[in-house]
Amino acid sequence: MADPSDQKAGASPAEPGEAELIASVVAGEPAGFEVLMQRYSPRVFATARRYARRETEVEDIAQEVWSKAYQKLAGFRGEAPFEHWLMRLAVRTCYDFLRQHQRNREASFTDLTAAEGDWLERFAASPDGASEESEAARALVDRLLEMLSPAARLVITLLEIEDRSVKEVAQLTGWSVPLVKVRAFRARAEMKKCLRRITREHYL
C-alpha cells in the first residue's frame, strides 16, 4: 500500500510543477509556497518528531524549517530536487534544536520508570522473548536517544535508525565524510556507555 504522504508529495500532472511554484514565490506570489508546504510538511514533521517529543517543539521546528526555506528560496538553484534541499534544511534545524536543548538531557538520566525496569528485567531473563511492541520498550528507546549528545543522536538516527549511507549523512548534515565516520564511531561508543548506565541496576 502506498504511503499517503508519498501521494501528497507527488504532484499530479494537473498541478503546477515545483519549478513553477518556486519561480512564482521568488517573483513575490506567496500562494505557491502554501502548495509546497502542503506537499512536503508531512516529511518535515516526521523528521522533527525524531528529535523532539513535545508537539509544541515539533511544530516550532517545522515552522523554523519553512521560515528558512522561504528566506533562502531565491538561492535554490534546482540542481537537486527541492525535497532534498528541504530535508537538508530540516536536518540542520533539528541539529540546532538538539544543541539548544542540550541542558534538558540531564532529565533523561533520572531513574527508569517501573514499566521500563520491568521490560529490562524481562529482556535479561529472555533476550529474544521481550516484546518490541510494548510502550515501555519504546519509552526506553526515547530515553536512550535523549541521553546522547546532539551529534551522536543525529548520527545514530540517520545511520542506524533511518539506515542512510555515510555519504547521504554527509550531504544532509553538511559534515565531511571522514567527520561523519569519526562521529559515528564516537556515537556508538557513547551509546554503549549510556546503555551500561541504563542497565546497571537491572543485572545486565
Binding site: M37, A62, S67, R138, I161, M191, T199
Partner: protein, 108 residues
C-alpha cells in the same frame, strides 16, 4: 550470554524497535495557513527585499552626489595660503617653460 553480548543484543533490539516504529507524519490542522501568515507578517517578501536594495542604492547615490559636490566646491574656492602656493607654482612652471624655449637651438 555474557554482559557485552547482552548489551549488544539490547542495543540492536532498541535500534530495530526505533526503525520499525517511524514517527507520525501527521501535520496539525491549519499549519500551512498559520505558518504562511506568520511568514508574511514577519519576513519581508522577496519583492520587498529588492525594493529595499534599490532604495538603499538610491540613498547611496544621493550621498555620493553630495560628497562630490562638496569636494568640487572645496577645490574651486581655495584658501589664501593655497592661492599663494598655487601662484608660486604657476610662476615656476612658466619660468621653466620659458627657460626651456629660450635655450632651444631653434631660437639661436
Amino acid at each position: 550470554m555474557n554482559q557485552a553480548g547482552l548489551h549488544k543484543k539490547l542495543s540492536e533490539k532498541l535500534i530495530a524497535m526505533a526503525r520499525n516504529h517511524p514517527p507520525s507524519s501527521e501535520v496539525p490542522s491549519g499549519f500551512e495557513q498559520r505558518t504562511l501568515a506568520r511568514l508574511l507578517r514577519h519576513a519581508p517578501t522577496l519583492a520587498d527585499e529588492w525594493g529595499a536594495a534599490i532604495r538603499t542604492l538610491w540613498c547611496g547615490a544621493g550621498v555620493c552626489a553630495a560628497v562630490a559636490l562638496a569636494m568640487g566646491v572645496w577645490t574651486s574656492t581655495p584658501s589664501a595660503a593655497e592661492t599663494d602656493t598655487g601662484g608660486q607654482f604657476l610662476q615656476d612652471l612658466e619660468q621653466t617653460i620659458v627657460a626651456a624655449t629660450g635655450d632651444s637651438p631653434a631660437n639661436w
